[in-house]
């Protein structure tokens, strides 16, 4: 229905609209202040405007009113007035569909710079009636549309593109609805400043990690040392399934991991100062790449940065610690 889309204010005055909406948002931000981690939508922070369909609906009912007056037809007056009444009701219903919703930040997963951070926002309906057609958005990025049953809480995902390592903040996002008839759009802006961590973008072509000064024995990055079987130990979460002694498991019902002499002694150190690169970011990128690769092969690794160091270990928590340190290394405001 191109005609209806054409009538939307966004289309009619794109430039003015952009400038005006920036201004309005700044004003709203000043007016509302920052929001807490759990924000309940109050009527005073909800805005409402007619949509293109709403404007056409208004024009149509006006034409019908003129027609009814001209013909003095009392039944078409009834029809016209019911439609006008529906317009009124739709306006209130549209706004009330959002009032009282509880919005809270439900975390993000760390991403590498260049990927988009998936901000998870929980919206809870703490009322007796269902809320329909709720959507979250940031400018042109929109989440899925969801209905919320009474008492239900659902997660909306907002993807945010990242460019640099460090913290990514969702300064502002909106929640809106067109329910019931798309005659009105009601929305609220939220400034909860949820943060997500962005790891450095891993270097595409990294030199092999240097032979560590503390590593016992000489080994290359790609030498797994898997031939040097050293024995079995109890399986730990995080051990590679490739290293599980499946035959032993079949015999004894006990999960055991194979230990290799090479792996045992490969607790290598990735040293910031040892990386040969043009600049800081490049160094961090190479370190990131090494950590990812080492993590993939379940090797122990340690990370040494100026001022902090993480002794060799492996596993998800260790990886996260190291990558986070890289992400925030040297930033002026590491707390976000």
């Amino acid at each position: 229905m191109s005609s209806i889309r054409w009538l939307s204010p966004k289309r009619l005055l794109p430039g003015i609209n952009r400038a005006a909406s920036r201004r309005v948002r700044r004003w709203a931000r000043r007016r509302q202040g920052a929001d807490g981690p759990v924000t309940r939508l109050q009527p005073r922070r909800l805005y409402i405007l007619p949509t293109g369909v709403g404007l056409i609906f208004a024009l149509m009912t006006f034409a019908m009113l003129l027609g009814s007056m001209n013909y003095n037809n009392n039944l078409s007056f009834v029809l016209t007035f019911i439609l006008i009444g529906i317009g009124f009701v739709a306006m209130h219903q549209c706004q009330r569909n959002l009032v009282g919703l509880e919005v809270s930040f439900a975390g993000t997963e760390p991403v590498f710079a260049g990927q988009s951070a998936q901000f998870r926002i929980a919206v809870a309906n703490r009322s007796k009636s269902p809320r329909y057609r709720i959507r979250l958005y940031i400018d042109d990025v929109q989440s899925d549309i969801k209905d919320l049953e009474p008492g239900e809480s659902r997660i909306f995902v907002l993807p945010v593109r990242t460019e640099r390592r460090g913290w990514v903040t969702l300064e502002r996002f909106g929640i809106r609805t067109l329910f019931p008839f798309e005659l009105f759009r009601s929305w609220a802006w939220l400034h909860m400043n949820p943060k997500g961590i962005v790891y450095p973008h891993p270097a595409e072509h990294a030199p092999p990690p240097p032979a560590s000064r503390t590593a016992l024995g000489h080994r290359q990055h790609d030498a797994r040392g898997e031939e040097d079987f050293a024995g079995l130990r109890k399986f730990h979460i995080g051990d590679s399934p490739r290293n599980v002694a499946w035959k032993a498991y079949a015999r004894s019902d006990q999960l055991l991991s194979k230990q290799f002499a090479g792996a045992d002694m490969s607790s290598q150190w990735f040293d910031f100062d040892a990386v040969v690169a043009d600049d800081l970011e490049q160094r961090l990128a190479i370190l990131t790449r090494w950590i990812i690769d080492a993590d993939r092969t379940q090797e122990d690794y340690g990370l040494r940065l100026p001022g902090q160091s993480f002794p060799p270990a492996h596993g998800e928590a260790h990886r996260r610690q190291c990558l986070e340190a890289l992400a925030l290394f040297g930033l002026e405001n590491p707390d976000g």
Binding site: I56, M60, G67, N73, V78, F81, I82, F88, V89, H92
Partner: protein, 651 residues
Amino acid sequence: MAKARGTDGSLLASLPWTLLALAFALLPHVPYLPAWITAALLTCAIWRYSIEVRRKPVPPALLRAALALLAFLGVLYTYSTISGVGPGSALLAIMAALKLLETRQRRDQFVLLFIAIFLVMSSLLREQYLWSLPYLVLGIILIMTAWLRTAADDAEPVRRSLGTSGRLVLYAAPLALAMWIFFPRISTPFWAVPIDTGTAVTGLSDTISPGDISALSKSDAVAFRVKFEGTVPDPKDRYWRGLVLHRFDGRTWSGISEPRISSSALENTETLGTAVNYRVTMEPTRQHWMFALDIPYDWDLESTFLGPQHQLARVQPIDQRIAYNAVSFPEYRIDAGMHSSRRNWYLEFPEGRNPRTAELARSMRAAARSDESYIHAVLTKFNEENYHYTLEPPPLGSRPVDRFLFETQRGFCEHYASAFALMMRAAGIPARIVVGYQGGELNPVGDYMIVRQADAHAWTEVWLPGAGWRRVDPTAAVAPERVDAGRTGAMFDGSGAAWGLGAPSMLLHNIVLAWDAANAKWNEWILGYGPENQERFMTWLGMDDPDWRQMLLTLVAIVTGLTMLISLALILRYRPPPRDRAAILYDRFVRKSGLTPATGETPRVFAGRVQRDGALPAVAVRGITDTYLDVRYGPPDPSLLQRLESDIAAL
């Protein structure tokens, strides 16, 4: 031409509802639309739906354009115009059919629903029956349901969409009612568009030609309804004067072509006896004539006047239902002193067209002592000789009166009036024919009189020196029961027969009367709510001298109040559910402890803190916490809740 892409089935949840809403909106148009348009819309609906089911692409743009052109030409060919309700609704139906074929996205259906709304509107312009109100309300609920479903989740049950749109229409209803009552009505239209409703309006014809194909209506359609103040005239006095015919060409009687104002008609009226006051609500006739009890003396409708022959007429044709109060005098003397030149007007007839009638009249007049006895002799002749009253008389050739009087001798009121008037004129007595209605059935439900098209009647008036115009109804001489009893019973039998009941059913008759009474109220209060009724209603509400400003202000105030009520209803609707008993009791316990649980602190951890605090007995705290957790997470057990309450009270 756009690349043909298959549809994705995303319309399957909403399209059936859009189609249903369209079909419902089209329903009242079907009898008036040419069959090909209904068929086209039906075909397109089925076509489009099967496209969606089979995920096929919609028809190409070129084909759609060709179909559009064809359909438009078809409408133009059928109606030879595109304005008016008939062609307008035909075009709407065609637009809906074509839009269906290019509907790809869910939102495209809005256009279809807008068309459905306009179809409902145009059906209301065409006809406004009692059932039109439930029809339009149901139509809106269906349309709004379809509207909701264009955006709703695919899995949303139909009952829920219907519930939501029904609820919103219910909220809108009081607003609509307030606007309907208080929105100022105006009497003059902005632009005059003839409403081509496509319905035939039955009324009286401007001329009568006895012997042509019987044009007498047997229709039970209501001509007008009358409410009397005080006594109701006897059946024999229920002559409703319409138009007067005085020109006779040997075959056809005609009157003045356009009503003219006569300033002298009232002056030449001498009223005798008592006045009859009544209110007439007249169905549209698209003619100028209005009906009043013989003989009308006063009325309260603007741009309405009394013609020289005491016929009541309105300047503009009556194309809407009108209501007026009137005063009549059943006993009167009019035009007693008519000038001889005017008298000659009422004596003219073409010599030689009906020679035998003229000859008979002259010989009978010669045999009679006076005009009165001559009139009596003619009536006696009708009464005693072999004349019959029938609604299906044989056709009468080129000398209609001669053939009727001497050969067929069978006819209805027009035949007798025509023959009688000619016999009077041939004998030198001024005579004319009055066309109107005779009779009327009293409806005890609602206490008013129904005059139907089948009550249409023609009678004569003769002028006698000193007495003026005197009504003579020759039909009464032939079929006295036609005049005395009116037609009561005819309809009664008729409706029984229409329902396939052999014996007249009194119950059915009463239902028919009750239905008519409901319609009369409907017409008066709903359809007739115009400037006058509105003013009356506003005055009754206590507004003195109501004008449009006052009404609009009142309307704004009421709408504001109602909007606040709707807001309140919505707030209640979205209020949080009541806290359960256990939570309330636990809160009581927390208050007694004097501590505040931290966010995320479990009851057990909190209990530990309370015990360390020492203000409450540790055992009781432990017990209460356990009971609370059992109530919360254990199987339902009312005794636990009681124990919790008593334990907390005991603290």
